[in-house]
């Protein structure tokens, strides 16, 4: 299928890509490209994908109701639904919803953790807790997710209030893309942070999806 633009994934999400009717993935729009890439690379034709608008990342309180609505919409069509969100700032509410509705979800606190590998991320938490993370998608959509919503385009003097406690920007690269790395490095400079790049690939996401039959 033709992947929508990042802007569309941010504001609209992704419509159901095709209908095998077997397993439905309800995912974050920020993961659409990665999930579709894994599907294609592994020939997982039994997995259908629908994505919610990625900008929900900035409004975690809206994620659980949106996932609930998506599950209710599609559950009569699919025997199995899998939620491709981690906790993502819902404070355990998404996990509780999935438990109540009898569906599974990706393990971990957020995509930064499962991209790096949940165990590794937790092990590094003592040294990395002052890191600000970006993924491939968030680097491409930095202005839409960080710069403009925080008002830094209008009020650059707020930068210190937002980022004064951070020590570095960690770019978790899902793909090895020099142009994207350069953009990520620029994002770090704009925020006044040191830059570090980690090539994570898809981390635990691949294993989570591979387990779905």
């Amino acid at each position: 299928m033709n992947l929508p633009s990042d802007d569309m994934l941010t504001t609209q999400g992704l419509l159901l890509d095709h209908t095998s009717g077997k397993v439905l993935l309800i995912g974050c729009g920020a993961l659409a490209r990665e999930i579709l890439d894994l599907k294609a690379a592994n020939n997982w034709s039994h997995l259908d994908l629908v994505c919610l608008p990625a900008i929900l990342h900035n409004h975690p309180e809206r994620i659980t109701p949106a996932v609930r609505a998506a599950i209710e919409k599609h559950r009569s069509t699919y025997a199995r639904i899998f939620v491709v969100y981690a906790d993502c700032g819902t404070g355990g509410q998404l996990e509780a919803l999935c438990h109540d509705m009898g569906v599974d979800m990706v393990a971990g606190p957020h995509c930064y953790s499962f991209f790096e590998g949940n165990e590794k991320f937790a092990a590094n938490s003592e040294s990395d807790f002052s890191a600000f993370y970006l993924t491939d998608f968030l680097v491409r959509q930095f202005d839409a997710f960080v710069w403009k919503p925080l008002g830094l385009d209008r009020h650059p003097q707020l930068r210190e209030m937002y980022f004064g406690n951070y020590t570095k920007l960690v770019y978790q690269a899902q793909t090895d893309d020099p142009a994207l790395t350069a953009t990520a490095r620029d994002c770090a400079a704009r925020l006044g942070l040191a830059f570090e790049r980690r090539l994570t690939g898809y981390g635990d996401l691949k294993a989570s999806l591979a387990a779905l039959r």
Binding site: P60, E61, D87, G89, T90, G91, G92, Q93, P109, H110, S125, E126, F129, S130, L150, G151, L152, R154, H155, L158, M161, Y162, N165, Y166
Partner: protein, 234 residues
């Protein structure tokens, strides 16, 4: 809000005009104008406490209400808070000198592993505005840091803040330690932060979850009054 800002000379406004103008300036995040307004009111014989409560807190209450109602957003609230901070910097030493009413004392900080302090800073400032003495421990606080400060400051309230799902469970570590040491009933424990909710607050044994700075102030006032009342009855 105030498009003709350049034409307004604050010192030429009488009090009835100046205070609403300061509300506007606070809303617009104009720190220098707020500092000037505070200085003018003090020069006219206002007590520091009246300047704080009638001009600054009054203005921040409007900001807080509009934030709650989705009219203002985080950047604008931060600008307003920065303006209020300018006014507070002038007033704080004067408030101490003039013996302004003190409602209670709060120790506040973000929990271990959490560096996100915007919410905590807003709460601290609004608590100060409401007459509480605030001891700000900053970010990344261990249980020992909280307990040491509570004891050293003889505080009434412990405020803990967390932005991350991964760090918010640490609040329970602190509360459980208070219980283990037989100290839990000595303090009012308030918790807040984006991923928290009322259910979580109850589950970890906090006295209350506060969804924003205004709620934190009202909740703190209620609990302190209750504590004083129960103390009077004992």
């Amino acid at each position: 809000m105030s498009e003709d800002q350049d034409d307004i000379i604050l010192s030429e406004l009488d009090d009835d005009e100046l205070v609403p103008q300061m509300f506007d300036d606070l809303y617009d995040g104009l720190r220098e104008e707020i500092e000037e307004g505070v200085t003018i009111l003090l020069g006219r014989g206002w007590t520091p406490y009246d300047v704080l409560t009638k001009a600054l807190v009054g203005g921040m209450t409007i900001v807080g209400n509009d934030f709650r109602d989705g009219i203002l957003f985080v950047p604008e609230v931060l600008l307003a808070a920065n303006a209020m901070k300018g006014g507070m910097a002038i007033l704080k030493p004067l408030l101490a000198e003039t013996g302004a009413p003190r409602v209670g004392k709060m120790v506040i900080g973000t929990v271990k592993g959490d560096i996100h302090d915007i919410g905590k800073n807003l709460v601290g400032m609004m608590m100060e505005g409401a007459g509480f003495e605030v001891v700000d421990l900053g970010i990344n606080n261990s249980v020992d840091a909280y307990l040491d400060a509570l004891a050293a400051e003889d505080a009434d309230i412990l405020g803990m803040s967390a932005l991350l799902t991964t760090t918010m469970p640490y609040m329970k570590v602190v509360i459980d330690t208070l219980i283990e040491k037989g100290l839990r009933e000595d303090y009012i424990v308030l918790v807040g932060g984006a991923p928290l909710n009322e259910e979580f607050g109850k589950a970890i044994g906090a006295d209350a979850y506060c969804r924003d700075a205004a709620v934190a102030v009202e909740t703190a006032k209620t609990f302190v009054a209750r504590k004083h009342n129960s103390g009077a009855q004992a």
